[in-house]
Amino acid sequence: MTKEELYERLNEVFRDVFDDEDIVVTATTTSDDIEDWDSLEHINLVNAVEKEFGVKFTMAQVTGMKDVGEMVDIILATKNQ
């Protein structure tokens, strides 16, 4: 899976979770950029991303990821193992 394909699928997950068809995420997107991305929705997002990509984040990763770029790096690292 290329990074572009990953971002494409990730966009779909974000759009579904935040109920907003206009969302386009990049590596630098953070919770400040998406209005509904608060601590409540964060865990729903993480669960949805895990389901989409068949990965499992550790709790340290769930609470520690700073932006979408970090999330993508973790997904790619897990997939490539």
Partner: protein, 520 residues
């Protein structure tokens, strides 16, 4: 030994001086000595067994998890060690703080339903200082290792220094080993600016506690518990005053604690961030007792929502309920509704935990827990209606009016909830709220509680507090003061010092040493 007492400041002066004289590698040991010494001044030496045993349980659990290795079998072993550390700590907390909750509830139950049974005797148990704070710090340490966030500490004495760290043991903040561990043990070099800033924060905390909180206590203490004797307006004023009293008392004590720690070069996590500027109850809890909010979010709320049960719940709800609900309700039960129900179910458990953490009493379960969950539920689920009500507030003036109203509304909602916090029981809380409506103009009014000089000092001090809290949202106030010319700086410093010394309420009716959150 209260943290605004002369003895405490002497302990700090000696402690900080020796800290910077001895070799760097011994400095954390000196912090441990100070921490144990301070602990011994707060109660029986036997109580020391609790933090020692609890730290021991967390230590063994950490080492066990570390040695478990990888693989599926190792995962089971790791889980076993994690559960040992968590339950070991919880058992101590339950024995000291929640045993009587069951007895009170049982006695209340047989009283309410007139059951012919003998009420049980309440057990008197001594509780070590800061138990609810250091227990959460230790459970957090165990869970952080389990979740892969940190490595286990190899030295049990270092872990004891973390759990008993003497400024923070009084009333928090709740610590995370990953954030503070390194800073506790590295032995900081003398930094004049850091010590100056630390002392300023200590004085600012004293100002909040001794000048403001103690005067507000003069208004609230006679009213709570005697609500039948006061007019409705006075009762409302007391409820509003108590929120400010709790804020100045708790955040003031945190300022003293943070300042003391800063003098040692150890920066603790912030616990308050101008909470009265919050637009909603949800935001209020992100700005008030921040470390508790973070703890329950990371160690209760997130793990709950990551269990299979909660992951599958939205789909199960949608499947199970959409066919069974009648007419419009069935079509209205969307995927989003199912997700909201799931989130609020987990959040209910979170708020029950927050309420229970404050103490084994129904007044805390309701006033510091469930009621706040209910507020947030109304805020979130009523959003379509609230957004319609907000719509007419347009333009700069409209937006400003709306912004002020949102903060006022949040303050009012919090005041109602905190009536329970400061009442003797859940029943007494309800009774005070009922008297607020029923008493009318009957009874004593506010002028009987505060007047003249004290009222002027209080209003003046609250204005200073509001100005500083507002300024905090724009800049670092201490850095701003430090950048002023020398005479301006020293006028500010002297004004603060003299306000604390001259206006501090040291009267016999109020024990400044008794911090409200010290009991937790």
């Amino acid at each position: 030994m209260g943290i605004t007492s002369l003895y405490y400041f002497c302990l700090l002066a000696v402690g900080i001086s020796i800290y910077y004289i001895i070799p760097k590698k011994c400095r954390w040991v000196w912090i441990l000595v100070l921490s144990v010494g301070y602990f011994l001044t707060t109660g029986s030496a036997l109580l020391l067994l609790f933090p020692v045993l609890q730290t021991g349980a967390a230590y063994l659990s950490g080492i066990g998890m570390d040695k478990a290795g990888d693989g599926e079998e190792a995962q089971n072993s790791k889980k076993g060690w994690m559960l040992t550390g968590v339950t070991g700590n919880l058992i101590c907390l339950v024995i000291c703080k929640y045993l009587n909750f069951g007895l009170y509830t049982y006695n209340g139950f047989i009283d309410l339903f007139n059951i012919d049974a003998q009420p049980l005797d309440i057990i008197r148990i001594a509780v070590p200082i800061g138990m609810s704070f250091y227990t959460l710090s230790l459970i957090g340490y165990v869970l952080d290792i389990y979740y892969g966030g940190i490595e286990a500490e190899r030295d049990p004495l270092r872990l004891l220094t973390y759990s008993m760290y003497f400024p923070a043991i009084v009333s928090g903040p709740i610590l995370r080993y990953g954030d503070i561990g390194k800073s506790l043990f590295e032995g900081h070099s003398y930094d004049h600016k850091q010590i100056t800033f630390g002392l300023q924060r200590i004085f600012w905390g004293c100002f909040k506690v001794l000048v403001i909180s103690s005067r507000l206590n003069g208004i609230t203490a006679p009213v709570f518990g005697n609500s039948g004797e006061y007019s409705s307006l006075t009762l409302m004023l007391a409820a509003l005053a108590f929120v400010m009293e709790l804020y100045t008392n708790f955040s003031g004590s945190i300022d003293i604690i943070m300042g003391a720690s800063e003098c040692l070069g150890i920066k603790l996590p912030e616990n308050f961030n101008s909470p009265f500027l919050s637009k909603s109850v949800q935001e209020f809890w992100r700005r008030w007792h921040i470390t508790l909010g973070d703890w329950v979010k990371v160690f209760i709320f997130y793990p709950l929502l990551r269990t299979e049960y909660f992951r599958e719940l939205p789909a199960r709800l949608k499947k199970g309920l959409s066919d069974k609900l009648p007419g419009r309700l069935s079509t209205g039960f969307s995927k989003k509704t199912a997700k909201t129900v799931t989130t609020f179910t987990a959040m209910f458990i979170l708020w029950l935990s927050v309420g229970l953490w404050h103490g084994g009493s129904w007044k805390y379960l309701v006033g510091s827990g469930i009621l706040h969950w209910f507020y947030i539920l109304l805020e979130e689920t009523g959003e379509p209606l609230w957004s319609k009500l907000r719509a007419p507030f347009k333009g700069r003036v409209g937006a400003f009016v709306l912004r002020v109203w949102q903060s006022v509304r949040t303050y009012l909602l919090i005041s109602i909830a905190f009536v329970f916090f400061n009442s003797g029981s859940l029943r007494a809380g309800f009774s005070m709220l009922a008297d607020m409506i029923a008493n009318g103009s009957e009874g004593m009014n506010a002028s009987a509680l505060i007047a003249g000089k004290d009222a002027v000092i209080l209003i003046f001090s609250l204005l200073i507090l509001s100005a500083v809290d507002l300024a905090h949202t724009l800049t670092d106030v201490r850095e701003w003061i430090a950048a002023r010319p020398l005479p301006v700086r020293w006028i500010i410093y002297y004004a603060l010092i003299f306000m604390v010394i001259l206006l501090g309420n040291y009267g016999p009716g109020y024990d400044a040493a008794e911090f409200i959150y010290r009991g937790f």
